[in-house]
Amino acid sequence: MPDQVALVTGGSRGIGRAIAVALASKGMSVGINYRSGADEAKETLRLVEEAGGNGVCVGADVSSKDEVDRMFTEVEDAFGPVSVLVNNAGIRRDGLALSMKDDAWDEVIAINLFGTFACCRRALRGMVRARYGRIVNVSSVAGVSGSPGQANYSAAKAGVIGLTKTLAREVASRNITVNAVAPGVVETELTTSLPEARYDELVGTVPAGRAGTPEEVAALTAHLCDPASSYTTGAVFVIDGALTA
């Protein structure tokens, strides 16, 4: 089995940070990608090292093919070929479809969907060669069920599920697994930045009676990244406190 070298996109905070730390505590070297939060990425790096792992911060916009290529090269130069990829980078630009501007649509699709594809494509070159790989794409319950005010986000996250299933079929024979996790309401800036009333309303609909934590999403993600998770592929795992059950 190749060295356990992971790359987590959007690793500077929230779910991405928790995943980076969880992978580090499994003994993996971790590339921590960020777009704007350089200082926050450094804090993730500190936590990764505290967990006993090695890390490197890499700034890149995943919606740019060239930046994705450079990002992978930087991680490869530091630790060797990437054997574990977690596509977590994502943004939201909410608004009702009726009045959604083109650029709000385009930007969310570019980062959340194309960015995920571009990173998978780049990672698969090495994984196919190595006959080993673990990919986890972070989708959302918004990609499983509809989500008013999130036509762009929901479409991108549903797209991530289709991408995940197709890639899983394409590379299954090479011992590469590709799965998606679909978190519901999780305590991150993505949700806590919502108006308080909307946030409370959202949490109120969760049978578990609370929002999930990034660590709870990271626990399953890290499990899927384990070499032992070798027959679990093409699956979508909802992590939502029974929200969509």
């Binding site: 070159r125 196919v128 060669r129 394409e170 590379v171 024979s173 090479r174």
Partner: protein
């Protein structure tokens, strides 16, 4: 075969033997799927390697006519000739 085609053929052979395929199987007439035993992912890997090595681009559509090792050599040779 001229020098260029021989070079391409050697690169293909080197790539495939690097993947554990017996060099004796990789004749010009060999069918990539039937004789060499490649699946579609193997063929994609091979073309990616050829693209990188010869600095060319091979669109997916052009892979459809690719049956034998010689087809691959000819395809790359045509690309290299155009871009040279």
């Amino acid at each position: 075969m001229d020098e260029k085609n021989t070079e391409i053929y050697e690169v293909i052979k080197e790539h495939l033997t690097g993947r554990g395929i017996d060099a004796a199987v990789v004749t010009l007439e060999a069918d990539l799927t039937q004789n060499v035993g490649l699946d579609s992912l193997d063929v994609t890997e091979l073309t990616l390697a050829l693209e990188e090595r010869f600095n060319i681009e091979i669109p997916d559509e052009e892979l459809e006519g690719l049956v034998t090792v010689k087809d691959a050599v000819d395809l790359v040779a045509a690309k290299v000739a155009v871009e040279a």
